[in-house]
Each structure stands twice: as C-alpha cells, then as structure tokens.
C-alpha cells in the first residue's frame, strides 16, 4: 500500500507506537495515508481500536516479517 508518510516503531511496545502515531498524524493533511511499521503484534488490534476512538480510517495490515498498518487521516 502506498503511504504519504512512514513511521518506524520497530522495537517499540505499547503505548509508544500509538503515542507516536497520534503525534505524527498532526503533520499529515486530511486524506493522506500514514504507514506505521512495527514488530509488536499488539499493533494489529490497537491501531484499528485507535482509529475507532479518534475517527481516522483504518486501511489495513500488511505483514512481511515486519507489521505494516495503514491509517488515513480523515480530520484535523
């Protein structure tokens, strides 16, 4: 999946990937896609949940050893 920005969260556990996602998404424009690369499996459940909480759109997961989750910014 194509993304406008990528966030490296390799080696980080909950809550840091979510904390960093919330920080970095501010730099994106509405409609842009953020890719979060992580190796903590929790992200696969946590990111959709975070999107439910914040209203951003969860686009999906890709796994190739590393876990890549995609979020579309839907509002400021």
């Amino acid at each position: 999946m194509k993304a406008d920005k990528s966030l490296d969260c390799i080696g980080l556990y909950c809550p840091m990937p979510i904390v960093k996602t919330a920080e970095i998404i501010k730099q994106l424009r509405t409609g842009e896609v953020l890719e979060v690369v992580a190796d903590d499996k929790g992200i696969k459940q946590d990111m959709p949940a975070w999107c439910d909480l914040t209203g951003h759109e969860f686009l999906g997961v890709e796994e190739d050893g590393e876990i890549r989750v995609y979020v579309k910014k839907t509002h400021d």
């Binding site: 080696g11 979510i18 919330a22 400021d76």
Partner: protein, 177 residues
C-alpha cells in the same frame, strides 16, 4: 436543501471535535512501580486517542509525584520518620512483587529499558506534555505530612474527594489502581 446538506457534511468533522470529549479518570492509590506503569500506559494512550485524562494520586500514590531530589520537609517526629522510610519519588518506586531488597526492581527496570519502555519519570513528563491532569490528594498530604513543595512541577492541582468525584462523574471510564 442541497446546500444545507452539503454544509452539514462539510462541518461534521468539526462538530464531532466540538462535541464533548471522552474522558478517562484514574485513581492512583498504589505507589508500586508496576501498577503505576499500567496507569501511565493507559493515561498516555487515552491522551493520544483524543481523550481528556485526569489522574488522582492518593495515599501511596503520592510517592509517584514526589520530587526525586531534596528532602521532604515534614513537621513532627512521626511524619518525619514516615517520609524518611517512605521517601518516594518516581525513581525510587519498587515492584509490588519480587522487589527482593531492590534486586527485582533493578532487574525489571533493566528489562523495561531493554525493550524501550519509558521510565515512570519519562512517563510523567510525557503525560504532562500531552495535557494529562495530575492531581495530588490533600488529605493524604495532611495525614502523611507531605508539604506542597515536595511535588514536582507537573502537579498543578491539589484537591480532595469532591474534586475527584466531579471529574469521575463526567468521565466515560474510571479506574482505581
């Protein structure tokens, strides 16, 4: 008609943001390293999810907020003794289990550092920057002889039970840790 529906569509994200924010309140009764860690993980995640967060520190929880440096200037022998053996400070917290004279805590801190988990000290700074409200319980301060100047600068409010209950009444989630 068309115009008004367009308008409401356009404004819907704004209205969502303007609507009452969801809120998490935590009572941090424990001054244990492990339990405090759980509290801060929830607090920072909630703040990152756009929620308002209030943490109410009482009894042993006050230890989390005590400054790491300097002494606690209590009045009276009993309270002086209490704050000597129960010095507190985010860097002095110990595990609720397997502290083993500090060995267990030292090991756990090492394990946490190894996987990049922030320390309690870092969590306090981070939470404060994210707008988490940290409140110290005045009754506990009185009973245990902890003067206001014992607390780090991130503590902005000293208050009692009524203040917490008002916070909790407006909250969607409240936990006692």
């Amino acid at each position: 008609m068309v115009e008004s529906s367009k308008l409401s569509e356009k404004e819907s994200p704004k209205t969502k943001e303007e609507a009452k924010k969801e809120k998490l309140t935590l009572v941090v009764f424990s001054g244990d390293l492990d339990k405090t860690l759980a509290a801060f993980i929830l607090a920072t995640t909630a703040a990152s999810s756009g929620m308002d967060v209030s943490m109410y520190f009482t009894f042993w929880g006050l230890n989390v907020l005590k400054k790491n440096e300097g002494g606690i200037k209590s009045k009276g022998l009993m309270r002086k003794m209490l704050n000597f053996i129960n010095r507190g400070g985010s860097k002095r917290l110990t595990l609720s289990k397997y502290n083993m004279m500090g060995m267990g805590t030292w090991m756990m801190k090492g394990l946490m550092k190894d996987v990049n988990i922030p320390s309690i000290d870092e969590f306090i700074t981070m939470s404060h920057k994210m707008g988490v409200k940290m409140i110290a319980c005045t009754t506990s301060c009185g009973v245990m002889g902890v003067p206001e100047d014992s607390f780090r600068s991130e503590v902005e409010i000293l208050a009692g039970a009524a203040y917490f209950l008002r916070e909790a009444r407006d909250a969607d989630i409240t936990l006692f840790i």
